[in-house]
C-alpha cells in the first residue's frame, strides 16, 4: 500500500551515525574527563559543606531556623506552623537524615540556578537578539526528558552528587531565566523613562528600577525553580544523589508500598512548605509594586 513504509535512511548509515557520535563523545570524556571534574570540584565542595551543615546541626536548631525563615519571608503564623509540623512529622517517621540531604541539595541547586539564571535573564531582557538565541535552548532544556541528558552528564562526570546537581540545575533553571527576562521586560516604561530623565546610568537603572520592579516575577521564578528541583529528586537519585529519592527508588524496585508513600509524602510536604514560603514572600513584595492605584 502506498505510504505504509517510511523511506528511512538505510540501517548501516544510521548505525554509523550513532556510533561515530557516541565514539567521539566517549573519546572526549576520556581525554577531558579529569579536567571537567576539576572544573566542577567547587560544586562538590559546596555540596559537601551544605550537607554537613544540614545533617550535623541539632534537629531543634534546624526546625527553629526553618521557622525563622518562614516568619521573615511571610510574617504568617500559619506558614510557620505548617513548616514546623511538617518537619516534626518527618522526624517521627524516621526520614530526618534523608530530608536534610534533600534540603541541602535543593538549597545548593536553587542557589546555583539563581546565580546562573539571573544574569542570563538580565542579558535576555537587554537584547532581543540574545532572547531569540536563548529561548529555543530553554525550550529544549525544559522539554527534553530528563533521563536523556542524564546520559552525557554521567558519561562526563560519572555517578555521584555533582552530576546529579548539574542535572537538577539544567532542569530547574529555565523558569528562573524566563521569569527574570519577563519581569524586566514588563517594567513600566514610564518609570524607566523617569529614571532616564533623572540621569540614571544603565547599571543604576538596573538596580534601582528594573530588578526591584521585576522582583515579584523573579520570586515566582525562584518558586518554580525550587519546585522543579524537588521534582528531580527521585530521578537524580538514580545517579547517586542521596536523600528522599533513594528510598523511593528502592520502594519501586522492591514494591515496598509504605516506604514509597512515606517518602513521597515527605517530598510533598517539603514542596508545600517551600511553596508557601516563597509565594508568601512574593506576595509581600507585590504589596506596593502591584497595587498601584488601589488601597493597600
Amino acid at each position: 500500500m502506498f505510504g505504509k513504509d517510511f523511506p528511512q535512511l538505510n540501517d548501516d548509515l544510521l548505525r554509523a551515525i550513532k556510533q561515530t557520535v557516541d565514539q567521539s563523545f566517549l573519546n572526549f570524556t576520556r581525554s577531558y574527563g579529569d579536567t571537567i571534574e576539576w572544573i566542577f570540584s567547587p560544586l562538590a565542595f559546596l555540596l559537601n559543606a551544605s550537607e554537613r551543615m544540614f545533617t550535623n546541626a541539632p534537629w531543634p536548631v534546624v526546625i527553629a531556623a526553618c521557622v525563622l525563615v518562614a516568619w521573615l519571608a511571610t510574617r504568617k503564623l500559619s506558614v510557620c506552623l505548617f513548616v514546623a509540623s511538617t518537619l516534626v512529622l518527618i522526624g517521627l517517621f524516621d526520614m530526618w537524615e534523608n530530608t536534610m540531604k534533600t534540603l541541602s541539595m535543593i538549597l545548593v541547586s536553587t542557589l546555583i540556578a539563581i546565580v546562573a539564571g539571573l544574569p542570563i535573564g538580565v542579558l535576555m531582557a537587554r537584547s532581543d537578539r540574545v532572547q531569540r538565541a536563548i529561548n529555543p535552548l530553554l525550550d529544549v532544556m525544559q522539554t527534553m526528558p530528563s533521563f536523556v541528558y542524564l546520559i552525557p552528564v554521567v558519561m562526563l562526570l560519572g555517578i555521584g552528587r555533582v552530576p546529579g546537581l548539574i542535572a537538577v540545575v539544567i532542569y530547574a533553571v529555565p523558569p528562573m531565566i524566563r521569569l527574570t527576562n519577563l519581569g524586566i521586560r514588563t517594567v513600566d516604561a514610564d518609570i524607566l523613562e523617569a529614571s532616564d530623565a533623572f540621569g540614571a546610568s544603565h547599571s543604576q537603572k538596573l538596580w534601582t528600577v528594573q530588578l526591584p520592579l521585576a522582583m515579584p516575577s523573579i520570586m515566582a521564578g525562584v518558586n518554580q525553580t525550587v519546585m522543579m528541583a524537588l521534582a528531580m529528586v527521585v530521578i537524580a537519585s538514580m545517579i547517586g544523589v542521596q536523600g528522599l529519592g533513594q528510598p523511593v527508588l528502592r520502594a519501586i524496585n522492591s514494591q515496598y508500598f509504605t516506604l514509597g508513600i512515606f517518602n513521597g509524602l515527605a517530598i510533598v510536604g517539603i514542596a508545600m512548605a517551600i511553596d508557601r514560603i516563597t509565594q508568601g514572600y512574593g506576595a509581600r513584595l507585590q504589596k506596593h509594586i502591584g497595587a498601584q492605584n488601589g488601597s493597600r
Binding site: F198, G199, A200, S201, T208, I289
Partner: protein
C-alpha cells in the same frame, strides 16, 4: 527675541520623523510633499516639522496643542530622551547633540528635571525615597539629600507623608511628590509634560497655584506642556501653539487672545473666558485727566473680568488704571472692556 546665549533653550530647524526611513522623508518634506502623503508612501510619521523656538530663562513657557500634535516629542528633545532626526538644540548653553552618553547623564542630572503626566513614581520606594531619587543617582553622593528631600516635601505640603508609599496617596498628592522630586534636583530647567492633566479639575487648579507660588521664588525656566487652553493662559508667560508638528503661533496670553495668527488658533481661543485672562492693559487708553484726582481705580495687571465687576458695582462707565507708583496710567472704558471680553 533674545540672543541664543541668553535663552534657556534654542531650537533651530528641528525635525523628528518616526518610522523606517526618516532621512528620505525629510527630503520629501523639503520637496513639499505633505505629511499625509509621506505617511501613505513611506509609513513614516512626521512628528515635528521644522520647529524653531527660543525659550527665555526664568519664565514659564507653555507648549499647547491637541493630542498627537507632537508636544511630548518636542519636550523630550530638551533632555534628549528622544534624538532628533535633524536640527540643532542648545539647552542652557550646551549643544545637547554633542554630548557623550556619560555627559548626557550628567547633563540630565544637573541641568534638567522632569515631571510626568502619569507621575512615574517608584512604587517600591517611600515618598521620601522617591523625592531624593534623582539626588541618589548623582556621583559623588549628595550628603544632604535627605534634608533637601524633607524641605521640598514640606514646600509642596506633604509633611508627615514621607514614610508612606505612592500607592497610599491620592493622585494629586502623588503628583506633588513628582513635583518635589523634580524640584529637589535644583536644576535650572524644569520640564513638565501634561503634569496636571491626570488630575481632577479642582486639584488641578490647586497644583497650578502651587506651581505659580513656587515659581515666584524660584524663577526657573519651566517648559509646561498642556492640551488645555485655560491652563496655558493661567500659567504661561509665553505660549507656543503646536499643530501636527508645527508651531503655529508664539506669544503672550494677550497676543494669542487678541491676535490669533490662524483660523486654527482662532477656533481654539473662541471657547475661552477671555475676561479672565486679558488684563486692563489690553483695553485701556492713555490717561488724559491731567492731575485731577481720579474716582474709581484699579491697579495695572487687573483682569478685565475684575475691572468689569468693579465698574458694575459702582455703576460707572469707566475706571482709572493706576501704575505701581499709584499714579494714573490710563482709563478703561466699559465699551472697550466689553468688546474685548465678548467676541
Amino acid at each position: 527675541m533674545a540672543p541664543d546665549n541668553l535663552c534657556s533653550i534654542a531650537v533651530t530647524s528641528l525635525y523628528k520623523i518616526y518610522g523606517p526611513d526618516p532621512d528620505k522623508s525629510i527630503d520629501l518634506l523639503r520637496d513639499g510633499v505633505t505629511k499625509e502623503e509621506i505617511l501613505k508612501r513611506t509609513n513614516n510619521v512626521v512628528a515635528l516639522n521644522d520647529v524653531n523656538i527660543r525659550i527665555p530663562s526664568g519664565s514659564i513657557q507653555v507648549i499647547m496643542g491637541l493630542s498627537g500634535s507632537g508636544k511630548s516629542t518636542l519636550v523630550r528633545h530638551f533632555n534628549r530622551l528622544i534624538d532628533p532626526t535633524e536640527g540643532s538644540l542648545i539647552v542652557n548653553g550646551v549643544d545637547v547633540m554633542s554630548l557623550s552618553p556619560a555627559e548626557l547623564q550628567r547633563f540630565r542630572s544637573y541641568q534638567t528635571a522632569m515631571v510626568f503626566q502619569r507621575f512615574a513614581l517608584l512604587p517600591h520606594r517611600t515618598v521620601l525615597d522617591n523625592v531624593i531619587y534623582g539626588l541618589s543617582l548623582r556621583r559623588p553622593h549628595v550628603r544632604d539629600a535627605v534634608d533637601r528631600g524633607m524641605t521640598w516635601l514640606k514646600r509642596v505640603g506633604l509633611e508627615g507623608y514621607e514614610k508612606r508609599y505612592p500607592s497610599q496617596l491620592s493622585g494629586g498628592m502623588q503628583q506633588r511628590v513628582g513635583l518635589a522630586r523634580a524640584l529637589a534636583m535644583d536644576a535650572p530647567l524644569l520640564l513638565m509634560d501634561e503634569a496636571f492633566s491626570a488630575l481632577d479639575p479642582i486639584i488641578r487648579v490647586d497644583m497650578q497655584n502651587i506651581l505659580l507660588k513656587l515659581q515666584k521664588d524660584l524663577r526657573k525656566t519651566i517648559v509646561f506642556i498642556t492640551h488645555d487652553l485655560d491652563e496655558a493662559l493661567r500659567l504661561g508667560d509665553q505660549i507656543a501653539i503646536v499643530k501636527s508638528g508645527e508651531i503655529v503661533q508664539q506669544g503672550t496670553a494677550e497676543q494669542i487672545l487678541t491676535k490669533p495668527a490662524t483660523d486654527y488658533v482662532k477656533s481654539f481661543v473662541g471657547e475661552v473666558n477671555r475676561g479672565r485672562y486679558l488684563r486692563v492693559e489690553a483695553g485701556m487708553v492713555p490717561w488724559v485727566g491731567g492731575t485731577t484726582r481720579p474716582g474709581l481705580t484699579v491697579p495695572l495687571g487687573t483682569t478685565l473680568e475684575a475691572a468689569l465687576k468693579t465698574m458694575a458695582e459702582h455703576e460707572t462707565a469707566s475706571v482709572c488704571v493706576l501704575d505701581e507708583r499709584e499714579s494714573p496710567a490710563g482709563t478703561l472704558h466699559l465699551k472697550a472692556a466689553i468688546a474685548l471680553t465678548v467676541r
